[in-house]
Subunit: 243 residues, 8 copies
Amino acid sequence: MARGELSTDDAMTRLARLPFEDLGFARVDHHRSLRGGPEVVYGRGKTPAETAAVAAALLDQGAAPVLVTKASAQHADAVREVAPGAEWHPRSELLVCRRAAVPADAGLVAVVCAGTSDLPVAEEAWVTAEAFGCRVDTLVDVGVAGAHRLFADAGRLQAADVLVVVAGMEGTLPSLVAGMVAAPVIAVPTSVGYGAAFDGLAALLAMLTSCAVGVSVVNIDNGFGAGALAARILAIARRRPSP
Amino acid sequence: MARGELSTDDAMTRLARLPFEDLGFARVDHHRSLRGGPEVVYGRGKTPAETAAVAAALLDQGAAPVLVTKASAQHADAVREVAPGAEWHPRSELLVCRRAAVPADAGLVAVVCAGTSDLPVAEEAWVTAEAFGCRVDTLVDVGVAGAHRLFADAGRLQAADVLVVVAGMEGTLPSLVAGMVAAPVIAVPTSVGYGAAFDGLAALLAMLTSCAVGVSVVNIDNGFGAGALAARILAIARRRPSP
Amino acid sequence: MARGELSTDDAMTRLARLPFEDLGFARVDHHRSLRGGPEVVYGRGKTPAETAAVAAALLDQGAAPVLVTKASAQHADAVREVAPGAEWHPRSELLVCRRAAVPADAGLVAVVCAGTSDLPVAEEAWVTAEAFGCRVDTLVDVGVAGAHRLFADAGRLQAADVLVVVAGMEGTLPSLVAGMVAAPVIAVPTSVGYGAAFDGLAALLAMLTSCAVGVSVVNIDNGFGAGALAARILAIARRRPSP
Amino acid sequence: MARGELSTDDAMTRLARLPFEDLGFARVDHHRSLRGGPEVVYGRGKTPAETAAVAAALLDQGAAPVLVTKASAQHADAVREVAPGAEWHPRSELLVCRRAAVPADAGLVAVVCAGTSDLPVAEEAWVTAEAFGCRVDTLVDVGVAGAHRLFADAGRLQAADVLVVVAGMEGTLPSLVAGMVAAPVIAVPTSVGYGAAFDGLAALLAMLTSCAVGVSVVNIDNGFGAGALAARILAIARRRPSP
Amino acid sequence: MARGELSTDDAMTRLARLPFEDLGFARVDHHRSLRGGPEVVYGRGKTPAETAAVAAALLDQGAAPVLVTKASAQHADAVREVAPGAEWHPRSELLVCRRAAVPADAGLVAVVCAGTSDLPVAEEAWVTAEAFGCRVDTLVDVGVAGAHRLFADAGRLQAADVLVVVAGMEGTLPSLVAGMVAAPVIAVPTSVGYGAAFDGLAALLAMLTSCAVGVSVVNIDNGFGAGALAARILAIARRRPSP
Amino acid sequence: MARGELSTDDAMTRLARLPFEDLGFARVDHHRSLRGGPEVVYGRGKTPAETAAVAAALLDQGAAPVLVTKASAQHADAVREVAPGAEWHPRSELLVCRRAAVPADAGLVAVVCAGTSDLPVAEEAWVTAEAFGCRVDTLVDVGVAGAHRLFADAGRLQAADVLVVVAGMEGTLPSLVAGMVAAPVIAVPTSVGYGAAFDGLAALLAMLTSCAVGVSVVNIDNGFGAGALAARILAIARRRPSP
Amino acid sequence: MARGELSTDDAMTRLARLPFEDLGFARVDHHRSLRGGPEVVYGRGKTPAETAAVAAALLDQGAAPVLVTKASAQHADAVREVAPGAEWHPRSELLVCRRAAVPADAGLVAVVCAGTSDLPVAEEAWVTAEAFGCRVDTLVDVGVAGAHRLFADAGRLQAADVLVVVAGMEGTLPSLVAGMVAAPVIAVPTSVGYGAAFDGLAALLAMLTSCAVGVSVVNIDNGFGAGALAARILAIARRRPSP
Amino acid sequence: MARGELSTDDAMTRLARLPFEDLGFARVDHHRSLRGGPEVVYGRGKTPAETAAVAAALLDQGAAPVLVTKASAQHADAVREVAPGAEWHPRSELLVCRRAAVPADAGLVAVVCAGTSDLPVAEEAWVTAEAFGCRVDTLVDVGVAGAHRLFADAGRLQAADVLVVVAGMEGTLPSLVAGMVAAPVIAVPTSVGYGAAFDGLAALLAMLTSCAVGVSVVNIDNGFGAGALAARILAIARRRPSP
């Protein structure tokens, strides 16, 4: 078995030196962007002012974009005072503060969405992936019950490097997609549904027990996590020398 | 809104007059076959002798077949002493005592099975349906991950009057099948799987929350129930005058 | 075992050719009515304008009725601009757009309802079944605790070709009804109840584990699914040549 | 609002004076029989010798019978060395040590049992009630699916002072019985069933959410508890002066 | 084993003859009061007008009181138009329509309540029991953590014929009370609590698994059911000849 | 707010320097005993040889005792070859390897056990606490149903510095004990019970939702964790200068 | 095994004599402060006037502080009329009525908080601990994902006598902290999170199954309980003579 | 938004033409290896002979390795008759049939394992990844409670392209690892643990709710799925032209 070639001492030392800033109500890492992704702030449970302060502190550092998830219009207004060009996506409550144009060369992410009701989660995924520099192809309202509509898109699905598949209710779309492609599939259960959907539990369990190879799952409604993971996966190709 | 045309008094009277026989440890209905289906005895929790006694009492009546579910080899041996020609299906632990040839004209039931591990439940369904007089077409190992294998069978699926779809793990297959056919789909979740399959719960919830129209669900591993229901559905066509 | 007589190639070809229309936020199938049922649009999570656009696209095709479930008054108003005669049922939030008189010859569906609180779900079932062309007989407030009230209706129950039985709380009505009839019973658990009813879970589990033969279950509160399934079942009789 | 007429000081004093005996591995109350019921020892998790020692200590006191629940044949053998006449019921694993004839005048308990598989729990209930001095009437295999069999017994049900109704699977029987009688119904869910029965959970929830008045529930498979409660209820009539 | 002495035919006949009245949206039994208890109407999910109509139909019959549970102020106003003297208890949302003075001679029910937050459920229990003709003694805020406060009331507890014990959170009060008395204990879990109380589930499970003899359980928050059951239990003493 | 007085650099440095030994299949810490407790090895899932190797590696270091939890007789034999005096407790499957006499001056731990069936877990707790140098007082079979037996021990309970209270079924005992003492109570739910006990879930929830102040909870059946925590708590008193 | 040295008789007598006051809607203990902690009143479900009455009754006794948890602004206003200096903490809805300066010598409690959203629960814990006379060090926003931020605080963590660790979502912070210190860790899961966090269940289970030694758990969001337990633990050191 | 460049018609045609072989009890795909991974056969529920037949059919095609999961020694013996060099790993019950040397150039996968008991699952992951052509670095027994042991390996962790992190009990390790690296983390919960671990549920929920970016989850104990997904992810880098 191979071993990594970085020495343990170096890693330990680097971790100890990683800077963070203490705002009193939050601690802000100033090294996360070194790892290739955007900074993220969870908006819920923070006041607009607190959110803006954290965002400003992050924007003072490096070049990566800063995302605020679960951002209300009030959060957006407060953050725009420190980041005037921030784009707010009301359907997914996602706020994106970019500092520089991100070259969209990270690879192609397909975001597939089972129904119109799943769009807020899907949008959170694709906006995140784009903020990370990925190209994105979106396919909306591709339910299992009308599988022929999915097969009509087989070419687009197979062209993607990574797929994010968003579905509520019975959550079977990821299994079906994974059987059609060779690329990894990130499954996102949503809380869309009623009755035995149990707020996303049915979709979550179905995705976890998928017989298809190449599927992994993130938390219910976690579009951000899926988009960010897609970008992390595509970053491998950039990081590694081509064979 | 229409009303049924049987008078209430008649129905009440008929119910009161329905015969049953008291064996001490069990009461045996002698009127169930009037309703068009086989008699069924749940073997588990009964001794072989008790099972044989119940079966014998039922066989003394009418012409319908008698089924014993969850029948061990010991049950089968005991019952064969009173019903020599009873067929025992070890994989599904189902015992069928027929008294007369049942004309197989009730219609065509397709029993579709997601994987080899689901075969015991699927077999319980198709043997039951055949005992009820249905013709049966079986499709085995038709997983979602290789959906093209399912589409290759679209013709067979669409030829069926009723479909029984058996699946464990994520339980996706009924949704997919229901999107391809106009006939009713009876979904049977199985306890096949591990981890988040939670002994059939994942498949059960997925089937209940299916977005496809025309799907209903029976208990986990209840192949008998699905087969019997398929036969009840097909009995409607026989009962009603053709338009 | 028999085989369906349609060739695989034909089925595959037909699936590939099935038309759909892409509205951007939704894809509209234009072939579903070929399968004998109404079109359905899930209203929740769609704007009134989006809902009306989908309904209009469906109404431009074929002759089948179009149903909008979970339709608010706003949805109804918007849809009526494209389908003036659409009937809105506020208790069940169901909107029905009919294009032509549907001859009510599909057979008789009995919709049985355990209590007054279950009426919204029961109404969704019976309006759906009627929209599909079924005759419907409704029995309301037929609880288990006063079983004599149920037995007084035995004649009406036994006259039905298919029964939809709606119940919350302990959900035992379907078992009782299924013991009185030979026709298939579609059980619909509702979220009516409190405490250990757990939003319909108690009724759902009771219905799934019913000892009665001929019972299958749809999702909690899914009156539409039950009504549509009843119509699919009755369509078999019309489709098949009478014996 | 009325008040009890015993003074607080008396009660406090009596509690402080209640005797118990310390066997090292268990403490034995010597006052429980004052409260009108038998002594009970939970056999599982105790060695036969420990069980016999506890039983002997209890038998040295008063006149009430001593019951050992979940008693294996080994437990029975050990206890019979100190209580030669103890009766062991293998199906319910219940051991009864009586010291004197108990006059069976406490009233009539009906023990109603849904299926043959529920018999071990039902037997635990009726043997317990008889040990407490109740007369018992047992009705076995009275399922909901054949409700007419239950109605044929309406007279026996209505003659009982208290009813213990034992059922697994969907657990419907107590609701149905309670709708036919004016006496209190003690519902006992059993772990009989499979799949969505979830080891008695389905029956438990159905019984707890029963719409029928007069139903209460004990733990899954707790036949002893139901029998003992029935006797406690009947003891009220003996204790109170008749009106 | 004894048998009830009413003949089967009689019972069957009486059930068939039990009258009910069909109001369209509800069916009203006119025989329930024969069984010794009040009529009950579940207010939630009924309009005030519907509620008043059902109450009026019931009041036209017999002499028993009529209760409306989960009755809002609007329900109360509507009902008072047909039953002017109806008493409304806002904390428990219980409405009581009495027609004649009920002689309070049924026996003594102690209603014990763990905390102030459990009062709405406890009140529903004691008002119901009183409406049934029971004398009631109430003990409020008797938590387990200060068990000495409970022991100070031992005399009052032991004077009761039946005890209703209401508790949320960990739900241990019924076990403790049952260890102090010989009378039956009806345990009522409440949804009071937070976190791992899971809306009453913790209390429910604790009460079901109580080691104390003589405890049975009703649904979470079901104060009415507990009060009505207490009255049914006490009715036995009146019905039976004293020994 | 106060701050700890150790500098951050020191802590970071010490953590980096903490030694461990790599056995291939396990890594052995050689610094844990610095923190005042015994070393612990989880026996289940390790072969006897692996277990002995880990134990030997730990025993080569420092003076603290080494415990092996879930140790079978085979584990015990293997370990005794490297630690001849190791004591094996079969009921709790706990193996204790002491190297030197531990002065029992850490304070007094009371281990209270609801029933005989809970003894294996309770023994694991008290043997662990003793191995840590605590004095232990054990009270066995002190159920809630006979609370007077508990009150008779009030003096012993109040003399303890820390209490470990072990109970299955409804898990009430910790609440009751906590109401009688001022010391912290560590509650240990056990998997003893059946039905709605759900393998310890009922007891766990009851303990978590206890209204009593001073109660915290460890995992189901985790006697070791409770004993070790008791010792950690008592170590504070030794570490801190007396006031 | 050692025994406590207080005699049983004394304890029994003292319990019987403990005073309480009956306010009608609540019973007020007047002896709890003897056990070393503050009085606590649960505000939710009590009117402001009731809350003030209970607080006043408690304040008339002894010298301990009185806390009202889940106190709204209305509660605070009402209580301040009887306790003018009461401090209200709106974020945690905690109200503290002190009567005299509490000397902060009980030891040092570290309250560690995973994220900003967990602050209300953390604040409830630290205000409670301070009211009990503990010194408190707070560490906010110390997530697992940036573990280096936690290690930077190792010195502060190791200086604490007791640690309260508050975390929602995956709830892993307590395990990590417990691996760095020798002091006991009280873990508080919070309901912060979404999806599979299931209102704190994920964090609760993670904390209960922690592999780290020295961790125990209180109810979800129960900051008060954690703070009060920390103070109880520290009271041991004061109570015991130093070695 | 970009679109894939394969035409829809091509994809549809290719899917329709994908070959499979019908063995009667199973259908064998002969195109899966085109998608870059090994063939996999789920051994459980298949006889050794059936398993060997499926493996042989797969081995007759292409060059990819064939894996049999959950393979007993009997399965291994049967398969070795058709694939003599197949390697069987008893701890993980994984059988690998390679046909040609796979050049290990797909990238570096780190498999990190929390405890010795998790080794079977971890081994399934690393053997699978190696069979797919990945280099693998394994880190065993890296618990959270001794986080310094993890930090000592920071260099090895950061050198990996993809990480598979396997943990039972509280399942914290993936969060901690994800906070230290920029590569994607595949979290595998295991069923190791007891009590509130609920057969892997605690670990599963903790991993799903992880606050760390870049984590996704597969089913409990699904080491194969994690290893296969790691290989799929690394295949992207090979497939895409380097930038």
